[in-house]
């Protein structure tokens, strides 16, 4: 076993032992503990658990890479995935906490006095959460197979086993305390390498300041970002600090979609049912965002610095000079290691034994490159995820730091998976079983049903992790699109408009989902099945035909359609009954909030 594997086993083993220890300590004995951790979680503790719940394998592993290669364009993820918390804190969380029930579909069903509305919400919730959870399972499998020398399948099975122990035993209570531990592991794992790298490149230990600091790798005295702009444009890439994603309009709509989607994701919303008071729900959202912001403001520094390190590793001298490019046989160890995974791939197109990494889609630079005798970009694959996973190795950090990153990635994936699994199982046992099919079920039987639903959800997630369907790649388009276009508008109107009625809400949700899914499926295939795309360029419906908006960014358009349909239809049909108007008035005032209950 190598030193790295030894460290990885040690650190990952220790964190897993901790999670299981917490699970045994925090068992749930009532439905209230199983669904909302008994409603007694301190707002700061809940903030930390929310942060771990929220920050997934994508936030931890992929986001910095998306920023590294997207530059300024990557800002949509930073603003979108944090700005949603403002909407959550101001528009949804306190009122839903006051409402005081266990699940999101339960609010929608009660507010719109309609079992159909509740079932539509359950379907959206399950579709969004299942799509989301597959990404976490594959993340776990990848981390295991890359670093711990076991197969992808065994990795997923171990991950399922760990989640099963604390989610089945403890429900929301076990998940909450485990998530707090997982937050500490993941934030430590994310910031330690970032601090080392910021110190090396800028001499400043705080990455957020280092990113705006002076580059100390040469004597030029220019800022790190200016240096990065220069290095990438010298090789024909777009300028880092100004490259946009699509267009300004696309970035605007994309950011808005991610914000609304974030606020509408059920596994995040249900975390606010666990605090004792309405006031706590408001503050807890703020604490959650502080804990999230620690990672989200570090990520752009990690992205920019990793990109600079990568460019400098390959382009060792002036662009175009004979010895300016790294000799392939002299490539560093980490390069070789990541080549075996396929995430990094080199092809010696001009046969000179050196690596040329440049933008061969830029015609102006290609002309120049030909003069140098370059025959195309030779780094044919540079996967986004490498930017975080290989970052410590690129920066020559010790093996224990690499091991820490592995444990952090696993913590991020496990904590998000557990939150999603709870949202899925509670909507099955509480909304479908108790709410619709067997209203008279006893609390003890419902608790048992919750545990069985959890086992079912874990098995399903594991199965889909082992056999990822096409739609696994559509987390952003599907999960955020659905949350933005169906759940968010339904809840918001339910609180802010007394006039919105059952028919309006159902028509609104169905319209929002239809508009969003049609656009996504039109581009990516029906449920992402290849060959079923139905773009119609001859009718003016080519790629991104609607104002140049990409399918991932379309949730906000779906949400707008939902709002308009719901308001219009409500105005044309009978107003909600008197007791619903009282319910809305009651939700708007904090006094009288008890612990969340199921009746």
């Amino acid at each position: 076993m190598t030193e790295l594997e030894l460290w990885s086993y040690g650190v990952v083993g220790a964190t897993f032992a901790l999670y299981i220890g917490i699970a045994v300590w925090a068992r749930a004995s009532t439905t209230s503990e199983f669904y909302v951790a008994g409603g007694g979680i301190h707002p700061i503790a809940n903030g930390m658990a929310t942060a771990a719940d929220w920050m997934s394998a994508a936030s931890f592993i992929s986001m910095a890479g998306m920023i590294a290669f997207g530059g300024y364009g990557g800002s949509v993820f930073l603003m979108g995935w944090t700005g949603g918390y403002v909407l959550l804190a101001l528009l949804l969380a306190p009122y839903l906490r006051k409402f005081g029930k266990f699940t999101v579909p339960e609010f929608i069903g009660d507010r719109y006095y309609s079992q159909s509305a509740r079932v539509v919400a359950v379907i959206c919730l399950i579709l969004a959460s299942v799509t989301y959870v597959i990404g976490q399972m594959t993340g776990i499998g990848v981390a295991f197979s890359r670093f711990l020398g076991v197969s992808y399948e065994i990795g997923i099975l171990v991950g399922m086993g760990i989640v099963a122990v604390y989610a089945i035993l403890g429900g929301m209570k076990g998940i909450t305390y485990t998530q707090i531990a997982q937050y500490i592991v993941l934030i430590f794992a994310y910031t330690v390498p970032a601090v080392f790298i910021a110190l090396t490149l800028t001499g400043v230990a705080i990455p957020q300041i280092g990113l705006g600091g002076t580059y100390i790798g040469d004597d030029s005295g220019i800022s790190l970002l200016a240096k990065l702009d220069q290095v990438v444009t010298d090789l024909g890439f777009k300028q880092y600090t100004t490259q946009v994603m699509g267009s300004t309009l696309n970035m605007f709509v994309y950011t808005l979609s991610l914000m609304i989607g974030t606020a509408g994701l059920p596994h995040v919303i249900i975390r606010f049912f666990t605090v004792p008071k309405v006031k706590d729900a408001r503050y807890s959202a703020g604490w959650a965002l502080i804990f999230i912001a620690i990672l989200y403001t570090t990520a752009p520094a990690v992205g920019a610095m990793a990109r600079l390190n990568l460019m400098d590793t390959i382009q060792i001298g002036p662009v175009g000079s004979e010895t300016g490019n790294l000799v392939y046989d002299e490539r560093p160890e980490w390069f070789k290691r990541w080549e075996t995974t396929g995430l990094l791939k080199f092809e010696d197109k001009n046969g000179d034994g050196r690596i040329q990494y440049y933008n061969d889609a830029n015609p102006a630079f290609v002309a120049k490159a030909e003069e140098f005798g370059w025959k195309g970009n030779e780094m044919v694959t540079v996967n986004n995820d490498i930017m975080v996973l290989a970052n410590p190795e690129i920066a020559n950090l010790p093996a224990w730091v690499v091991a820490l990153v592995v444990a952090g990635g696993l913590a991020a994936a496990l904590s998000t998976a557990a939150g999603l699994l709870l949202a899925i199982s509670s909507s099955i046992s509480h909304d479908l079983l108790k709410g619709v099919m067997m209203p008279k079920i006893s609390e003890k039987s419902e608790l048992l049903a919750g545990r069985i639903a959890m086992i079912g959800a874990i098995l399903l997630a594991g199965y889909l992790g082992l056999n990822p369907p096409g739609f696994a790649a559509g987390t952003v388009a599907l999960a955020f699109g659905l949350a933005a276009s169906s759940i968010f508008p339904a809840i918001m109107l339910g609180i802010f408009s007394k006039r919105t009625n059952n028919i309006g809400a159902i028509v609104g949700m169905v319209t929002g989902i239809t508009v969003t899914l049609l656009y996504v499926f039109q581009h990516k295939g029906i449920f992402f099945v290849k060959g079923t795309e139905f773009l119609m360029p001859e009718l003016g419906m080519g790629a991104n035909w609607f104002l140049g908006i990409t399918p991932e960014a379309f949730g906000a358009v779906g949400a707008l359609a939902n709002f308009m349909a719901a308001i219009l239809v409500s105005m044309l049909t009978a107003p909600p009954p008197e007791h619903i108007r009282h319910l809305v008035e009651d939700v708007r005032v904090p006094r009288g909030a008890g612990v969340a209950t199921g009746h």
Binding site: G212, K277, L289, A293, P590
Partner: protein, 85 residues
Amino acid sequence: MTPDKRSDYWSANLRLLTVLLIIWFIVSFGFGILLVEPLNAISLGGYPLGFWFAQQGSIYIFVVLIFVYAALMSRLDKKFDVEED
């Protein structure tokens, strides 16, 4: 609580929400996206200002907005005597 007081409380809440959401919009969609180019002409340390808002500043301001909302709402709850027991 009388219906009048109830609706005063709700209007005060809506006014506060509106002000905070306008700031939320300006720092992210305004400074971070629509006005990013002109703002990039100004620098904040080594950061072009628009880029800083998009990748750092908006996030810090989001945090502040939520805490300001929570604090002012607690005060409002007290003023209208609707805080929890």
